[in-house]
Symmetry: C2
Subunit: 324 residues, 2 copies
Amino acid sequence: MHLANRVLKGDLQAAARLITLVENESPESIEEMSIIYPHTGRAYIIGITGPPGAGKSSLTDALIKFFRDQKKTVGVVAVDPSSAFTGGAILGDRIRMQRHCIDPDVFIRSLATRGWIGGLAKTTVGAVHIMDAMGKDVIIIETVGSGQIEIDISRAADTTLLVLTPGSGDEIQMMKAGILEAADVFAVNKSDQPGAETIKNGLELMLGLRPHCATDFMPRVISTTAIQDLGVNDLAEEIMRHHEHLVTTGLLQNRQRARAKFELLETLQGFLTNFMQRIDEGDYLDKLVDNLLKGKTNPYTATMDIATRFAGDLDNMKSKGNQK
Amino acid sequence: MHLANRVLKGDLQAAARLITLVENESPESIEEMSIIYPHTGRAYIIGITGPPGAGKSSLTDALIKFFRDQKKTVGVVAVDPSSAFTGGAILGDRIRMQRHCIDPDVFIRSLATRGWIGGLAKTTVGAVHIMDAMGKDVIIIETVGSGQIEIDISRAADTTLLVLTPGSGDEIQMMKAGILEAADVFAVNKSDQPGAETIKNGLELMLGLRPHCATDFMPRVISTTAIQDLGVNDLAEEIMRHHEHLVTTGLLQNRQRARAKFELLETLQGFLTNFMQRIDEGDYLDKLVDNLLKGKTNPYTATMDIATRFAGDLDNMKSKGNQK
């Protein structure tokens, strides 16, 4: 039986193995994910991001507890853009999250990866799809963010939560990087520390300056102290308020649609990039360039030649698929 | 008869019209350029770039005279990245160049364009091919440069000349942007003005810091005053010295090869981008996304669907080509 079918039947080990296949970009993962895909689109996806040390894992842990109290099943994809970079601190937080490990309705998976761009996005989306198909009601993607990552995570999530802490002083940088626009819900964690009010006021000021019209979601900045479970209910309610807003305005469908299209175009782009790499590895491209230099062909005819080869490749892949 | 065949017979009007076809990305230009292409690869291509007001057109004018005295035929592609931006100054310089207009062995063409990136590169390369096929011995590409443009022009030329002037004070910026690495020959024009020695010394210092090995071309900084024809012979000799270096080291062939490959990949990329735009215009892509959202397909199968359509498109184009 396909791993994917075992995942659909609730086999946790099969789910873990399938995520590993996706992570390793194993060729079988394509067929497996084709079985998974029709069972996706039901989970509510929350992205949690912010600078290192902001307490994202502690907040994730507290949110898991909140959703479990509501009898919702939860999946967590915890992404380490670079294990070397973030070091042991994250490991400690992840260990804290493990208290949910004995709960069969919480499925946590860490993805260690060299960077978000490219490979990771695909792996993260794959892991989310698998947890979605497993029937998880809520899926949390948690990652250390800086710049592009927040914008990417906001593409993958329905609601994006940005976590800041007093003294991080990154507000202006984030404003510049367009991160505030990418996030929907804002938490100032470690709000018992000095400077918490300053960052909260600063954020509120900047959010007030966001261009908006009457139907826009007006975010509130929530103060939390995750390790003491303070403000977590307010934060969860703010997340639910954003979810409600997405549903009533029809924006949820728009986001899901944009996400599906984005994933399709990314898959197509990956397919083409892969093809281009393959033709550049052998001597095929070299010979075409030789013929160009000898005046035996021209860039237009040579492009047709490449495209024809691409079509041939495709027939090949399809007939292989049919043999299975 | 095809325009291209008339170009090959030396028809100047046909050449001007064909460049316009390429500039307008007219569909016929593909077939016409297929006829041109086998007759290219013989001209020596010089790129001239530098900040606005550096005297690039005056230097081009002086170099035309130098090559004509050597009985070489010359083509000039003068690129205005933005007419609005550079304004009348360039127009004055271009008028100066017009003294060669009565010389049938000098072919000058201005390309007005909104920017180098994308369209312009293709148009410029097309115009160079046409002049090359016309039998021009030397082709000069002249453009106002800032940042990326120099690097692009150095891909299109055999020898790239960077023109600076006293007081431009852009040395450090250019160092950062990798422009010094992209250029082969360096002129300090308007060298009769104060500060000329300072910029010359600064350039020499920076060029001395370039990583190099024994076989590398060691550039000299040439002082010129183009409008008085001072230093132009030295500059032309430096250009020829670089050309000689490319020939004896075999680097000329490498550059030509890299250029042909780059043009091929650019053509392929253009072809794919065009296809993607077309499928995004109709409702084809929308319907695929609908099916994704309904779980009727998945990103992998949908990608195959798109690729199959691409192959069909291709067959269509080829059968149209055969009907001609």
